[in-house]
């Protein structure tokens, strides 16, 4: 059981970071406001979790403008996709282990 838990990715321990990654896996790009609405967190909280994922190279950030407003969109990187899939597999193994 111990080594099963070791396979889980520590970065995805947080429900917010897991939520961000889930949304990015099924959408090419997601912008900041969409994520905020989806996960229902404050700006600061979301930004800090996004930063963690960015620092780990799991997501790419694109900054652009819509009129005068800045618009920040996020998309998943190859490394992020791989890490997320491994995390899912680890979860699956844990469920099998319990059964």
């Amino acid at each position: 059981m111990k080594n099963l838990i070791a396979n889980l990715n520590k970065i995805f321990d947080s429900r917010i970071r897991l939520g961000i990654m889930s949304a990015l896996m099924v959408n090419e790009t997601v912008n900041f406001n969409e994520l905020k609405e989806l996960i229902e967190v404050t700006d600061g909280n979301l930004a800090s979790h996004l930063r963690t994922l960015e620092d780990n190279n799991y997501l790419k950030v694109q900054k652009g403008f819509i009129g005068r407003k800045t618009q920040t969109t996020y998309s998943v990187t190859k490394a992020g996709e791989k890490a997320f899939k491994q995390h899912l597999e680890a979860l699956e193994q844990m469920i099998r282990g319990i059964e």
Binding site: D13, L18, G19, S22, M25, N27, E34, E92, I95
Partner: protein, 212 residues
């Protein structure tokens, strides 16, 4: 909530719900289906009166509809379509506001594009059918293309809408071989099926949410 010990099954459910909510437009209200169906039934009733009134003197020799009636029916069709669309959008807007979800997001755009495209293609085809006086094929063509639009859009909204699409396609296909009964098939597909689907969706997703 941030503890690593949250059970893996719960975590997987969380992931799944997040994926669905971020990629599907789920505010589509059951009332939208019911109201669109009622518009269609009223429209079919008005059309049947027009036809009965106008054909009191008997059909033309080749079985197609005279020009004046043609234009009136086309106009009626556009009115019914607009009324159904407006009422459907209204109920969906009300639901999305109640649930605090933005109505115009990426998922709504995707849903719209994937349903509008087959409907525009079908619309052009139906206009040509009308010009060529192939009137018996107009109702089946409406049902077939609308069914395809629903099946195509079902990937971007509540998945159950695909069954409504299948049912419309089946009705349209049968109607192809029974061209004289277009209005009945039309009323069954756009009227009755919409209302049944709307009630089903309302019971499944909205009735519960309101009592809790």
């Amino acid at each position: 909530m941030n503890t690593p010990s949250s059970p893996p099954l719960e975590t997987l459910k969380d992931i799944r719900s997040m994926m669905e909510r971020s990629s599907r437009f789920i505010s589509l209200s059951g009332w939208s289906g019911i109201s669109a169906g009622c518009c269609a039934l009223v429209g079919a009733w008005l059309a049947s009166r027009e036809i009965a009134h106008s054909l009191a003197g008997g059909l033309e020799g080749n079985g197609s509809i005279p020009d004046a009636l043609h234009i009136r029916l086309a106009f009626l069709g556009i009115c019914v379509f607009s009324a159904a669309l407006v009422s459907a959008v209204l109920f969906t807007y009300l639901r999305s506001r109640r649930e605090g979800v933005a109505i115009w997001g990426k998922s709504a755009r995707r849903l719209l594009w994937n349903t509008v495209l087959p409907m525009v293609a079908g619309g052009l085809f139906i206009i040509r059918l009308g010009y060529l006086h192939l009137d018996g094929l107009i109702a089946p063509a409406c049902l077939l293309f609308y069914g395809l639009a629903l099946v195509n859009g079902s990937k971007y909204t509540l998945g159950e809408i695909r069954y409504l699409g299948y049912a419309q396609i089946i009705l349209g296909a049968i109607n192809c071989w029974m061209p004289g009964y277009g209005l009945y098939f039309w009323a069954a597909g756009f009227g009755v099926l919409h209302i049944l689907y709307g009630i089903w969706m309302w019971v499944k997703y909205e009735a519960k949410a309101q009592t809790v």
